[in-house]
């Protein structure tokens, strides 16, 4: 009897892993689970531009991976990390942070696009890296995406209170014995991991959207940070499933479809909870 159940289970697993649509959905949901809570920190700490810069560096990472024939995940993660730490060490000198980030984000994207054309003998489907190609997620890709997302979630879960204190007030966190520099580095580190995971799914140009839009959609209907993280995950999962379905039925590009659904959720949450300005006395 048990044997039969096992066979059925294995059968189901095989069907799911062999079907590209199932693999895409699982990959997208894995990303949503991690991008929901991490996206909240990006919103709370006003790191949207920072996210853009690290995500755009991913294209440079793709060029590096192709040039040295290493895994795209590794190349993208290294480039994103390098970009993040460069910004962290340069910020606060001479230029305002948003100027610096603007230069870094667009410079890295342009450099990556130029670098890819120099790689001999490789015809690269650039749009797959810019806008994602979730339908092409293979079994190994799915495994790496799940592991990356699990790592991000685990780190967030273990350091949640510390990261919240750090986000509220650096001095307050320091007084409580939090190593503020180390925690900032860790947050940037998991952001790089997420970028590496997400490039296959939504692409370099739309990674920040997957971080910010679900979190922003969650804000108006949340009373605590944990609620906001939970609602953001829900919104991101709906966006992934909705975007995939739309893409399947109407043959629209998948990454942008996911972001469109997330944006609709954001607009709905904002419009439903908007308050009329109080009359002035």
């Amino acid at each position: 009897m048990n044997m039969i159940i096992d066979m059925i289970k294995q059968g189901i697993a095989k069907v799911i892993l062999d079907d590209f649509l199932w693999r895409s959905a699982l990959a997208g949901i894995a990303l949503a689970l991690a991008s929901g809570p991490l996206g909240c920190f990006v919103v709370w700490r006003r790191m949207a531009y920072f996210g853009d810069a690290t995500a755009h560096a991913a294209i440079l990472g793709v060029a590096l991976s192709l040039a040295f024939s290493i895994s795209v995940f590794i190349g993208v993660m290294v480039a994103a990390l390098a970009m993040a730490f460069m910004i962290l060490s340069l910020s606060g000198r001479m230029f305002a942070v948003d100027t610096l980030l603007g230069v870094a984000a667009h410079g890295a994207l342009a450099l990556g696009l130029v670098a890819i054309t120099f790689i001999p003998g490789v015809r690269v489907d650039l749009s797959a890296y810019l806008f994602g190609d979730i339908l092409a997620v293979g079994r190994i890709d799915l495994l790496v995406i799940c592991m990356g997302s699990a790592l991000v979630l685990l780190v967030l879960w273990l350091r949640w209170e510390r990261l919240l204190l750090l986000t509220l007030n650096v001095d307050l966190a320091a007084a409580r014995g939090v190593d503020t520099r180390r925690e900032s580095m860790i947050l940037v580190g998991i952001l790089a991991v997420l970028v590496a995971v997400a490039i296959k799914i939504v692409g370099a140009l739309l990674i920040t959207a997957m971080l910010i839009i679900p979190a922003a959609a969650a804000r108006p209907i949340s009373r605590t940070p944990e609620w906001m993280a939970g609602v953001a995950v829900t919104a991101a999962v709906i966006a992934v499933v909705g975007g995939l379905s739309a893409s399947f039925y109407w043959d629209t590009p998948t990454g942008p479809s996911i972001v469109v659904v997330a944006s609709v959720l954001f607009a709905a949450a904002t419009l439903l909870t908007i308050r009329r300005p109080k009359p002035k006395h």
């Binding site: 919103v43 709370w44 006003r46 209170e161 919240l164 204190l165 986000t167 509220l168 007030n169 650096v170 001095d171 307050l172 320091a174 007084a175 409580r176 014995g177 503020t180 922003a216 804000r219 949340s222 009373r223 605590t224 940070p225 944990e226 609620w227 906001m228």
Partner: protein, 246 residues
Amino acid sequence: MSLIQTQGVGVRVGSRRILDGVDLSIRRREIVTVVGPNGSGKTTLLKILIGAQAPSEGAVLRQAGLKIGYVPQRLAIDQAMPLTVSRWLSLSGSNGGEKHSKVADQVGITNLLGQQMTSLSGGEFQRALLAHALLVRPDLLVLDEPTQGLDQPAVASFYRLIEGVREDLDCAVLMVSHDLHVVMRSSDHVICLNGHVCCQGTPTRVSAAPEYQALFGQDTEGALALYRHEHDHRHDQAGNCESDTG
């Protein structure tokens, strides 16, 4: 054994000296008030004591496992972060509902627990910050200009609250104040800071003379006291010392 001690602590930013040769030590149950004009390095000293900033010279010695409850002067909570007062209190690491309601009652925010932090008034917000610091069960409670913007009766009642806190928690209190002359009556030690320690001592009990009565108004329970400065030097416009005797 002091809870925390500084030895010749100095801070430079570029060629500017913010702090120079500060020695101080705080023992358990001691109340220390640091007074000084704006830009005298009070906040910098405080950041060094809580460990948010490293001094450029000198050393800070902390008792092992020292727990600090810190009440910042301001805390800008981004509108993007939803945070109820209740959740803010549990961020102190204490999750006992009973403890929360006791402390909330002590500082008078019981009816605000369900509200968003960003919706509180200035005074309510300050009390929520204090409640968080108390729930840490600190050995040392550090308050950065806690009485700023309060009128004198409110200052007096705040000081009585802090006295009660010291009795409850058996902790030391370090308070920074911009009021150079009127300090907390129970201060064991007052330090006047202006880049360096200008003078230090104990506050003077306010006498019953009518002039003082006029100055201190209705503070009949004596939470306030005067601090008499005994400076042997002046500071010129640039902040350099000039000896009075020389």
